[in-house]
């Protein structure tokens, strides 16, 4: 294990990107910061810029407008970084599969920039906060 990955696993700071989600995953994500789940006690923190982030949390199947922005945000994130695709839409475009404005899913868009990118999937519509915590824990253990 490289020391960079070791450092990443310690307390991942995340940047949240909404690429065309319906808000559900987003409010469940914010829920994680509030007293009931409070993931800050594990050192997981939402940050305001991708340049400070160890992980990107992407919600929503990627729309045409959002795709170039997502790629740009990915380029700005220091490597190595982990991309969490949260929710069915981010994993597979979900119910919006037939939409003409959807380019996604997230892994396809990210891998156009970096074929080596680490993408983790947390499915569910929306995944429960417990499921998100479990997904992050499993993902970090697998690194």
């Amino acid at each position: 294990m490289s020391w960079k990955i070791w450092a990443l696993k310690k307390s991942p700071w995340v940047f949240h990107v909404n690429t065309g989600a319906c808000n559900n995953c987003d409010i469940e994500l914010l829920e994680l910061l509030t007293p009931r789940f409070d993931v800050e006690r594990f050192g997981i923190k939402l940050v305001g810029t991708p340049r400070h982030a160890d992980a990107l949390v992407v919600t929503g199947g990627v729309t045409r407008q959002a795709a170039p922005r997502l790629q740009e945000i990915y380029r700005q994130t220091p490597k190595p970084c982990v991309v969490f695709a949260i929710g069915s839409c981010a994993c597979s475009k979900g119910i919006f599969k037939k939409g003409y404005h959807m380019i996604g899913p997230v892994d396809k868009v990210i891998k156009e920039v970096d074929p080596e990118a680490i993408v983790m999937y947390i499915p569910g519509c929306p995944p429960k906060p417990e499921a998100m915590i479990l997904g992050v824990v499993k993902a970090l253990a697998a690194l």
């Binding site: 949240h16 990107v17 909404n18 690429t19 065309g20 989600a21 319906c22 808000n23 559900n24 995953c25 987003d26 409010i27 469940e28 914010l30 829920e31 509030t34 007293p35 009931r36 940050v47 305001g48 810029t49 929503g60 199947g61 729309t63 407008q65 959002a66 922005r69 945000i73 979900g94 119910i95 919006f96 037939k98 939409g99 003409y100 404005h101 959807m102 519509c125 929306p126 429960k128």
Partner: protein
Amino acid sequence: MKKRTIIPIGPYHPLQEEAEFFQLYVEGEKVVDMDVRISYNHRGIEGISETMHFDQVTFLVERICGICSASHPLAYIQAVEDLAGVEVPERALYLRTIINELERIHSHVLWAGLAGHFIGYNTVWMWAWRYREPVLDLLEEISGSRINYANAKIGGCRRDIPNELMPHIQKVMDELIPPMDMITKAVLDDPVIHARLKGVGVLTKEDALRYCVTGPTARASGVPIDVRRDDPYAAYDRVEWKVITRNEGDVFAKAVVRLLEIFESIKIIKECAEKIPDGPIEAEVREIPPGEAVGHVEAPRGETFHYVRSDGGNRPVRHKVRSPSYVNVPSFRASCIGQSISDVSITLASVDPCYSCTERIAVVDSDTGERVYTARDLIKLSQDKTKRLMEERGRQTNE
């Protein structure tokens, strides 16, 4: 002329959950003009819904917006029921009312928390979201999911709430009153919040009418409109409640309207849980005849409006959605211009904008961000060029 600066906010900005892009034109600290550019969230839902059959569309419209995920399906279902002429059983109407009001409570508390976060009062955020949890738990108990309830269906409801759960609903609602009281008092009595929100982002009654705003945004500007009272659906005409209005139109009034509406919602739920009749929860729907219909519902943010046209097949031929934020967002031009930059974020947040509902697509020249020439502009350009050439020719022949 003073120097004009453009401040871009977004599309990905730490303050916003969703991607949207505002351009503020400022002179010094004062906002003189603003522009909004959307469609980062446009998913083409109206198009997708024309490829699905009537029952499936319910689940699609549920995912228009995660916070209005009971209001959008209900508006759509009411349109289809109107089309098919279905008589919905009484018990289903009460069930719909309970789910919709629980949704309103969780949405308003969520807003109160986020508003606290926007003005730098993270304590309010943490408190509000903590006391929102019991509501989500209750929703999970009665519908199976914390946020996407998938309860209403064409002709009734998919799941019943057993009568044994009704006392539990009453108990949760009773337990919700003291914390909500505390939050309301904390907001209404706090001198800092007064100083920060009073007189900020005023939307006058004239402007509210001019921009046709709906929901709490309109009610805080002294326009007493509420679909629940004006065109009762579900069981709203069978219970006692009142429409909350304020005349000031500032952000504080919007906060007060939302916080007081929570108590009205609690009252409605308690009364529904008490009065709910026994009986079937769904009516049989055989086929949807050709025709067109509309359904509207008072979502937490205002009136949401669905139009459905059918040709007698099993899919809608046309489905049109007009969500509350779509009419509330343009009112930013009335409430933000003239403010200082620091007040803009709370003013923007005060209508509780929901961009996933609002997204439409518009074509602009992406390189320059300029508007595309209209036909008349092109004709004028062409005429000007001819004139210029003629002048040049004339000069040459004269020489």
